[in-house]
């Protein structure tokens, strides 16, 4: 289970070949992919071709890039040239193949990464559970009887289990942060629009973002740099920290609160106004945009949808235009208010998912003392942040032998570098870090 940084260094230095790395990865995918229900397609031929091109570059004295030979997967809503983009739906089983790769795939491929698999998700990314009628329910590598979260659950599970070194997902309301929290890995929800969405099938256009998963801060930083085309500069500048209060502290695992308070015991606790309204606005915008996108298909082939998402999309399609407009208007004022409130802080700490992974056979969580559906409500802490467009990194608390829990590191727009620096500091202090699932190769 080597890191992207280590694999790329070994391939670039001629100590191993990309093909050796990829063959080992493919063997793991064939052996373990079905157990987790994380993988929808293994792309062996493409992976071998890409790996051989990387090895040819090394042999010719050409640097293949900072992700040389690193095997990765993509949530099954990224266009992959020559394949139907299923978006996790039987509706697209026979869709025409994509003509080109999604833009984000192009960026990591240009850096030498090797695509090995497409990965499971909630149908059309509408859910926090990766319970999928067509492809099955993705299982958490830390406990196969529990959910991996969603909607990018296959991506998170595959990275957590070491089946791939990193993965690309998408986050509309928490769809990389929630599964990262439940499976104990890292993920970035970038400043809205900062990473390329070309060739990514949408859930809600105005909220969707591309987000990578990784198993270390160093790998996450490398992916951020490759995907964004920026460099994270080293600096000793001090970082001003705050803790989110109110609903964020009322609905958290005690271990999350203890970690936050241990990291920043003297940091102010900030209560954000209108958090419940923000979550509701995000919920309504997502329903309305998703419903509009799928309205034509719902009119013709409604029974081809996953029943759980079909009924949600139909309901969204019936929302009045005025309500959608009201939600978008609130979004503008809320984002401005939160940006002003957080202007004095560099990193704001909050829980990611509110609890450990729920059992698959009892997929409920407790919110404000009442039982709530996991697939609908695991994003209670991520959804309001999505509405602001601010960046948020999900980081795993280091707790070997226990079910994973994650935090969000939230920053001002365009400050992913600061969040990554803070995450690296927490990792170095042993507060956060990946604990391999029991039975996984160390």
């Amino acid at each position: 289970m080597r890191s992207a940084v280590e694999i790329a260094a070994a391939v670039r230095g001629g100590r191993t070949t990309a093909l050796e790395v990829v063959e080992r990865c493919l063997a793991g995918l064939h052996a373990e992919g079905n157990r987790l229900v994380a993988v929808t397609r293994i792309l062996a031929d493409r992976a071998r071709d890409e790996a051989q091109r990387v090895d040819a570059a090394v042999a010719a004295g050409i640097d293949p890039g900072p992700l040389a030979g690193v095997p990765y997967g993509v949530k099954d809503l990224f266009d992959v040239a020559g394949l139907a983009t299923t978006a996790g739906s039987a509706l697209f089983d026979d869709a025409p193949p994509a003509a080109t790769d999604a833009e984000a795939i192009g960026r990591v491929q240009a850096a030498g990464a090797v695509l090995v698999a497409t990965l499971n998700m909630d149908e059309f990314a509408y859910g926090f559970a990766t319970i999928n009628a067509r492809y099955g329910t993705t299982r958490n590598p830390h406990d196969l009887a529990r959910l991996a979260g969603g909607s990018s659950g296959g991506s998170a599970a595959a990275v957590a289990a070491g089946l791939v070194t990193f993965a690309l997902g998408s986050d509309t309301n928490g769809s990389v942060r929630v599964p990262a929290s439940l499976t104990g890995i890292y993920a970035i929800k970038p400043t809205h629009g900062a990473l390329p969405m070309g060739g990514v099938f949408p859930l809600a256009d105005s909220l969707d973002d591309t987000g990578p998963f990784a198993r270390s801060v160093a790998d996450l930083q490398l992916l951020w740099e490759v995907l964004s085309g920026t460099t994270v500069a080293a600096t000793d500048a001090s970082i001003r920290v705050a803790r989110l209060g109110g609903r964020f502290r009322d609905n958290a695992d005690p271990a999350q609160l203890a970690a936050i308070d241990r990291v920043a015991p003297d940091a102010p606790i900030v209560d954000l106004p209108d958090i419940a309204r923000a979550r509701s606005a995000a919920y309504l915008i997502t329903a309305a945009e998703g419903g509009a996108l799928h309205r034509a298909a719902l009119a013709v082939t409604p029974m081809a949808f996953d029943p759980a998402t079909r009924d949600r999309f139909i309901a969204g399609a019936l929302l009045p235009q005025g309500l959608y407009d009201a939600a978008q208007a609130f979004r503008v004022s809320f984002a401005r208010t939160i940006a002003d409130l957080l202007a004095d802080y560099d990193v704001v700490l909050a829980p990611a998912a509110p609890c450990v992974a729920p059992p698959i056979d009892d997929p409920w969580i407790v919110i404000d003392g009442e039982r709530s559906l996991a697939r609908r409500d695991l994003g209670i802490h991520t959804q309001p942040i999505s509405l602001t467009g601010l960046p948020s990194i999900a980081v795993p608390l280091l707790r070997p032998g226990q079910l994973p829990l994650g935090l969000q590191l939230i920053g001002r727009a365009g400050t992913e570098s600061t969040l990554l620096r803070f995450a690296a500091m927490l990792e170095a202090r042993g507060v956060i870090g990946v604990s391999p699932p029991q039975g996984a190769e160390p």
Binding site: R279, D311, R312, I314, A317, G322, Y324, F330
Partner: protein, 72 residues
């Protein structure tokens, strides 16, 4: 943004038309609004649609500050 697979680019806007803020609640209202946007709700789907509209109505009430209740 490109729309891969079976869906072409669309200019379709969210919302079922008009500027009212109410979420349809009764079966008759649900079916009427559905018909207005070109949908026919099959009988097996109606309970699920009704339940989801109730959740959306709850969120609408919170957004519009008509409820101090818990966002679900």
């Amino acid at each position: 943004m490109s729309r891969p697979g079976a869906y072409a680019e669309t200019d379709e806007m969210p919302g079922a038309g008009g500027h009212a803020l109410g979420v349809p609640g009764t079966d008759a209202a649900i079916e009427a609004v559905a018909a207005a946007v070109g949908l026919v709700i099959a009988a097996p789907c109606l309970p699920g649609v009704r339940a989801n509209l109730a959740v959306l109505g709850h969120h609408a009430a919170i957004l519009l500050d008509r409820s101090s209740g818990i966002a679900r």
